[in-house]
Amino acid sequence: MTHLTAFNISIDFPLYHSDNRSLKKTVFGAAAGRFGEDNKHRPVVQALRDISFTLRSGDRLGLIGSNGSGKTTLLRALSGIYQPSNGSLSMEGRLTSLLDPSQGMNMELTGRENIRLRGLFLAMPKPDIARLESDVEDFAEIGEFIDLPVRNYSSGMVVRLAFAMATAVHPEILLMDEWILAGDAAFMGKAKRRVEAMVRHADILVLASHSSSTIAEWCNRLIWLDAGKIVADGKPLDVLSQYLPPEQFKELLMVAHPPLTAG
């Protein structure tokens, strides 16, 4: 059974590559909330503090919060990229993370070469790589650009290719950062249908976004992060009603199709 459990996850970023002593002075002098010391008294930025939640099949979790609140770091931690400084993470199910469209892609290689590399990363046998290639090509709809180096793509094309690659093999857990919104309206609709089909197969989605309408539309649970801590956790509209200024929240309810009701 697909699940994803974060238990008291904390992540500290050590402040290397800087003058430790003068930095310590600034950091502690300013009494800033995010800075601290690890158990060896080295200065660190506390990117995440005691994050706990459990996701089961069908859960579509949104992450919302201001810049630097820890959304991307949490996605990286859930991907298993950062070993937590504290706490633990356990999951069952094949995971794909879409953190940054260009990450994991070699910009000098062509789209097709990147797809093949992804196939090899997924340890696919040859015929399946060929199938992956045609599936991604069909979905991304970038035409002849598939045989050009990725650095010649527009940012929208990179998004299309990255999204198509990440979802072509049907991940059971999909972690996504908000850049997916860089696609045009037509692609967004397609992307949403693809993610919905994925979630219908009882899988998990975690989406970090600044857009409350996207969150309200895509997610059925929302966590509000601030300064690396969970401020609120609940149904999207409940959390958004606390997160958004009242007039913006009203606006959100008005523009939504179909009309949304709080609670």
């Binding site: 298993g80 937590p84 633990s88 993370s97 953190l99 940054d100 290689l109 990363f121 049907h170 089909a197």
Partner: protein, 293 residues
Amino acid sequence: MTELTGTDRAIRAMQRQPLFTTSADRGWGQRFRLAVEDLREGFVLWPLSWALAVADIRLRYRGSTLGPFWLTLSTGVMIGSMGFLYADLFHTDIHKYLPYLAVSIILWTFLGSLVSDACTCFTGAEGLIKGTRMPFTVHVLRSVFRNVVVFGHNIIVIVAVFVFLGVHVSAYALLAIPGLLIWLLDGFAVAFLFGAFCARFRDVPQIIASLMQIAFFVTPVIWNASILSAHPGALTLIRLNPFFYILEIVRAPLLGTDLSFGMVAKALIVTAVLLVISGLAFARTRGRLAYWM
């Protein structure tokens, strides 16, 4: 999206990572378990490392007519010009000196680039490391494979020199193969060790590059160890040089010179020490590498 087909299910079943868990550092037991897991997963993905390595080389020469054979040509030109110059300077017979120089320089280039690429094997893959969870072993294998491909192109020069000068090659030369396998093991270990060290301390690659430059001059690469026989002090210097033993286990068979048992034993000791140190280093640094990018 299309409904799941039979193959999809097969792929999912095959790739299912039934359970992935990670937690805060819990000491050496967990560190070694995770390091071994990384190695196991990384070796399964060797076709990916190979494809990445080949892509690295192809990209370096994309758009050029000769492509990677520029490697062969530039090495050939360098050895040709150096050979005639130094044979004259050292007053040695070109028929003896040129094969020695070709083999030595090409082997040293292989060793040197294994070390210098080791320094960037993780920092150079920052995008991959921060973009997805991938075994670190993949990046290490990529660096080793890339150097194997380059070496493969340079071997052509050795063959050309041997054929051109009519050097006699016996079955003894085949002993170079186990030697090269030991080199791969060394290169693999060095990449874990230096890769992590250079990711944490960004001055280290420059320091290592300078040390390799010194190693090039104090190791008998362009000069022959036999010219030191009159200087016992200088001979001790060679005896303390691990590069000499490592180089000799491949070079001696190729040149048809003697390879004593002591030499091989010392090369194996150097390799074993390297493997132990880098194993410890990898277990210790694995969980921190992503933070150092």
